[in-house]
């Protein structure tokens, strides 16, 4: 039997079409993927992301442990700063991608919901020295408030000023009178925040947020639009674009792989070799030149020869074009290259573009 998040009653009340995702009953959509997508791009929408895994790590050797387990350099983090990162297997394959927060007395790791158990086991397996770890997924609810009006909306019910919170920084304050962790993070390309809320007070925050956002036409957003929004930004989805058979360098995540950080990390040796030899394939952005919509697993061709496969594909609601992420051989992975994707037996032309697909997001940098 799958689980529900603290917001389940609100999803039903809002007419959400419920599906099982990462072991939870979550809304695929409410009003429709396209209108919800545009809501986030134009004003503000709210995502229940309580299915994400939340893991607290603390102890005298916590930083050392996290730095060993993740590819980015957590020693650069100041208190209340966050970073995107990746955990790898020794062979360079990806365990998961995650966000690491440094908080005053612990670290918070936010991982993919579908990987929560696997990641927790992987982390526990590697514990050494004075490190404590607790999975707090069920105690903490998580909302993402995303869109160009996210700050104006959330500010109305926040006890602290939000403007000083930088991109990938966090602060503690009251929202709707509830003590929450607020970070300027998200998965949409728009400005916005994620809120970490004690589960038992989660509905109070939801209800006040919806009331405060009325003037911005706030609405709940389902998993469908979450996927189209992230795909337009080339944000990777574990299980589609990255997994244990892909490495972060070929996925274009080299910016969070710090090969020369002191002490190294799991997978560093193999990734150093990949970096020296250059990845054989690259995760690239393909934009269709006709009305066909690419889907995962379809084959990609260059001059009639197979050079790769699609990992994510959709109609981009912002561009009104088919878009795809695909792994293609390095020789074909140049911006401007014309490739074809075989869709229902016909080859459809696509052009390889520089990420992201959607270039007008309100995201702070």
């Amino acid at each position: 039997m799958s689980k529900t998040t603290p917001f389940y009653s609100r999803h039903l009340a809002a007419g959400g079409k419920i599906v099982e995702f990462a072991g939870y009953q979550l809304p695929l959509q409410f009003r429709g993927i396209i209108p919800e997508h545009h809501r986030v791009r134009t004003t503000v929408g709210v995502f229940d992301v309580s299915h994400m895994g939340r893991i607290r790590v603390w102890g005298a050797n916590a930083l050392q442990f996290i730095n060993r387990m993740t590819t980015n350099d957590a020693s650069n983090l100041e208190v209340y700063q966050a970073q995107y990162s990746v955990m790898c297997y020794p062979d360079g394959g990806i365990v998961d991608d995650l966000v690491v927060y440094r908080l005053p007395d612990h670290f918070l790791l936010v991982v993919n919901g579908a990987n929560n158990e696997k990641d927790t086991a992987w982390l526990k397996e590697h514990l050494s020295g004075d490190v404590q770890l607790e999975n707090v997924t069920t105690e903490v609810a998580q909302l993402a408030v995303q869109g160009p009006k996210a700050e104006a909306c959330l500010q109305k019910i926040s006890s602290i000023g939000l403007a000083p919170i930088g991109f990938y920084w966090a602060a503690e304050g009251k929202v709707a009178g509830v003590d929450v962790l607020i970070s300027r993070t998200g998965y949409t390309g728009e400005d916005g925040f994620e809120l970490y809320i004690p589960a038992e007070q989660a509905l109070k925050v939801w209800d006040e947020l919806m009331a405060a956002g009325k003037e911005f036409e706030i609405e709940p957003i389902g998993l469908g639009a979450r996927d189209t929004l992230r795909l337009e930004m080339k944000y990777c989805l574990y299980g589609n674009d990255i997994d244990q058979t892909t490495n972060p360098l070929e996925a274009g995540l080299g910016f969070v792989v710090k090969l020369d950080k002191p002490g190294g990390f799991i997978g560093a040796e193999v990734l150093q070799k990949v970096a020296n030899e250059k990845p054989r394939r690259r995760l690239v952005c393909l934009e269709m030149e006709d009305r066909a919509i690419p889907r995962p697993k379809l084959s990609v061709f260059a001059d009639g020869n197979p050079v790769g496969f699609v990992t994510s594909g959709t109609l981009s609601p912002s561009l009104n074009k088919g878009i795809a992420l695909a792994y293609v051989q390095r020789e074909s992975a140049r911006v401007g290259t014309k490739l074809t994707i075989e869709i229902r037996g016909n080859r459809h032309q696509a052009v390889l573009i520089a990420p992201p697909f959607y270039k007008h997001g309100s995201r702070k940098k």
Partner: protein, 135 residues
């Protein structure tokens, strides 16, 4: 609950048929459009061709997925709904808004009227939808 009109015939693959003389007007059901959601493109690939019952006659692209359309009856596909196949705007979304009316997909000139008796009536299709929703 999905709308399932009494005056139509249905397939197990969620097409509906309205018979007018020797012409079958074909669409997808309210249940099907809700499952697909956000329809962005419809193509009747068999337009002008003679098809057999249950053969693929086209496809529907929604944001999340692609779905084939199957011939509810054998015959010649004589017309595709041009109103839902315009390049501009959200014309294909008419299939979501009005699946039994303006959102019809194509017309087939029926070659074997006996096949009509193999289609589901309102009660049988309602039963099918209820079973689909419960698992």
């Amino acid at each position: 609950m999905s709308s399932i009109p009494a005056d139509l015939k249905y397939t197990k693959t969620h097409e509906w048929v309205r018979v007018e003389g020797d012409i079958a007007i074909v669409g997808i059901t309210d249940f099907a459009q809700k499952e697909l959601s956000d329809i962005v493109y419809v193509e009747i690939t068999a337009l002008g061709k003679t098809v057999k019952q249950t053969e693929t006659i086209g496809f529907i692209e929604a944001v999340k997925a692609t779905s084939d359309i199957y011939a509810p009856v054998s015959g010649e596909v004589i017309e595709a709904n041009a109103q839902i196949n315009k390049k501009e705007g959200d014309a294909p979304a008419m299939v979501n808004r009005d699946p039994y009316g303006m959102g019809w997909l194509c017309k087939i000139k029926i070659s074997n009227p006996a096949e009509l008796s193999t289609l589901l009536d309102q009660a049988a299709y309602t039963n099918l939808v209820q079973r689909s929703q419960h698992h």
